[in-house]
């Protein structure tokens, strides 16, 4: 176990579905009491990893301990220690919210009376007390997801798996679920959260594991990962396309990497090390050059930048693959340019739910 107390320890997990390799030597180590983000595009293997750890799926290779118990050897004991909120709200639509929680309480072996009491307690806590006796059919997406969260909290589990807990929710529903998750975390539950929303991992996770094609790509705190991309960026928007060369020249000797020029959006951006000094140097050079400038900004890189750097492709590239459609929206393209084609990187096909789903999903 080493010095740290691990809530989840997985080594070399492999899982194939026929020709598809969903997990390919996947490792994961999550310290107790932390929130760990599992970040990756559609089809990366997030759900498969969660299903193996939650005892729903047998892996072909590798081993995993959850709460110190081997998932393959003693799945029933693992089930006593975990809660699971799947990608789709797994609650009974015909029953009421209260009946759902009572049923699950009984099946968690609390006995009828304690199951009833726990149901009331959780309805209260997840802000569902008023809707508790209504059929789940009448619930909004956010309410269902909160009921689902409540159901996975019945035994106050040691480890909670949340598979894309906000996919398909509008911004309000997402906010509600985030608040609920933060409450759980404050109580000491270890959370493994999968997400395609870069912002979500940034907002909620202590550490992030980036997964792509079933393999680990990187692990670290959100800020560590951002630093790997090369720190902060200065972005300049020129008023005239003709000035772009002059603008790029202003970065000479200041930026830590080649400036990226986009003629389409008339922007130049480059990573810099010394934030304020670099900004003032670039600004005074631009003033001297006489180029007319519309905007100049200094910003931290987003996790989207991280993804691009680490995997060599953007998170949303996968969105145009055939299997993506059913699996929910992806983050919208980053708001800066990495090359002339960055904005149309996803084949120029915007996600149909982008306006409601991906809004604010970056930064």
């Amino acid at each position: 176990m080493g010095e740290r107390d691990w809530a989840i320890e997985a080594r070399g997990l492999g899982k194939r579905f026929g020709e598809v390799t969903a997990l390919d030597g996947f490792d994961l180590a999550v310290p107790s009491g932390t929130v760990h983000g599992l970040l990756g595009p559609n089809g990366a293997g997030k759900t498969t990893a969660v299903r193996v750890l939650a005892t729903l799926l047998d892996s072909d290779e590798g081993s995993a301990l959850v709460g110190g118990v081997d998932v393959a050897r003693d799945p029933q004991e693992v089930r006593r220690r975990i809660g699971l909120t799947g990608q789709y709200a797994a609650v009974d639509e015909i029953l009421t919210g209260r009946q759902n929680l009572e049923l699950f309480g009984k099946l968690f072996h609390l006995g009828g009376r304690r199951a009833k009491a726990r149901a009331s307690e959780l309805l209260e806590r997840f802000d569902l007390a008023d809707a508790g006796d209504k059929g789940v059919k009448a619930y909004s997406g956010g309410m269902r997801r909160r009921l689902d969260l409540a159901a996975s909290m019945i035994l106050a589990p040691q480890v909670l798996f949340l598979d894309e807990p906000t996919t398909g929710l509008d911004p309000r529903g997402r906010g509600e679920v985030w608040t609920a998750i933060r409450d759980l975390v404050a109580g000491g539950t270890t959370v493994l959260l999968t997400t395609q929303y870069l912002e979500e991992a940034d907002q909620l996770a202590d550490e992030v594991t980036v997964i792509d094609r079933g393999r680990n790509v990187a692990t670290g705190t959100p800020s560590e990962l951002k630093n790997r991309v090369g720190g902060d960026q200065i972005e300049v928007v020129a008023a005239e396309g003709a000035d772009l060369a002059a603008v790029a020249a202003a970065f000479d000797g200041v930026s830590t990497g080649e400036p990226t020029v986009s003629t389409e959006h008339r922007t130049v951006s480059a990573p810099v090390a010394d934030r304020v000094a670099a900004l003032s140097t670039v600004a005074s050079r631009l003033q001297a050059s006489g180029a007319s400038i519309e905007d100049i900004t200094l910003r931290r890189p987003t996790l989207d930048d991280v993804f691009l750097r680490l995997t060599g492709h953007r998170a949303e590239e996968e969105a145009s693959s055939p299997e993506a459609g059913s699996d929910g929206p992806l983050a919208q393209p980053a708001t800066y340019e990495t090359g002339a084609d960055a904005r149309t990187g996803a084949d120029g096909i915007p996600d149909e739910r982008e306006s409601t789903e991906a809004e604010g999903a970056l930064r």
Binding site: E77, Q87, Y88, A90, H109, A186
Partner: protein
Amino acid sequence: MTTETTAAPAADLTPARHSALWWAVSDCAAMVWRGLLYYKREPSMIAWQLGFPIVSVLLFVYVFGSAMDVGGGADYKAFAMPGMFAMTMAFGFMNTAYAMVVDKEKGVMDRFRSMPMARSAVVSGRGVSDLIGAAIDLGVLALIALAVGWRSDGGWLQTAYAFVLLLLLRFALIWIGIYLAMFVKGQEQAGNLFAVAFPFGMLSSVFTPPSLMPDWLGFIAMWNPVSSTANAIRELFGNPVATGNSWIEQHAMEMALVWPILITLVFLPLAVRKYQRLSR
């Protein structure tokens, strides 16, 4: 959210300690409670399940009834009503399959499988609640049959045994329903099960005696398990049976037991194995 921020609840959440058998029964009971809540919350479910049998019987008795001759001058109504009972049981496996498919698709099945409940309870709970549901269905159908003038001329015991045979057929078909549900991908596909159910229910002695069908069709209909149950209960009810001289028709009483037992022996292990293999 409320201001409470601890995950630790006020009450003790240590699961109760009992033997595995105790939990197998108790978890099954919880699943049955869930199944029965469905009837309370959506009573229209019964209408959906019985709609087809009722409409078809009214059609056959009142529209075609006068033209139907099952031989020996027997009353068609008395012939068709037991057939309708058997057909409803035969179609029942669709209800089982549909309920399982919905659970699978909505992720409820995954939640059950991620919980420390008895592994058998999902399947056994489904079985018991569907049997109770079938008993409710039969009760409603019997009342309708009585209302349109059907009577059992058999003794009290024989009549009760007839209903036991009907439930036995339904019990056997639960396992086919669960087994098929494991292959069905979504709710829409579940509707296609009717393509299996319809010939299974209709290619039988339910509405017409197989002896009046073309030879090959009659042969299939005779050997259909639904026919054996239908003929056995007709005999028990003292209703016209209209059987031919084939061995299978002469042994309806025995076959009404043998068929369901055979089906259960084959499909119960298959269904349980398939359910356990969801983790593959």
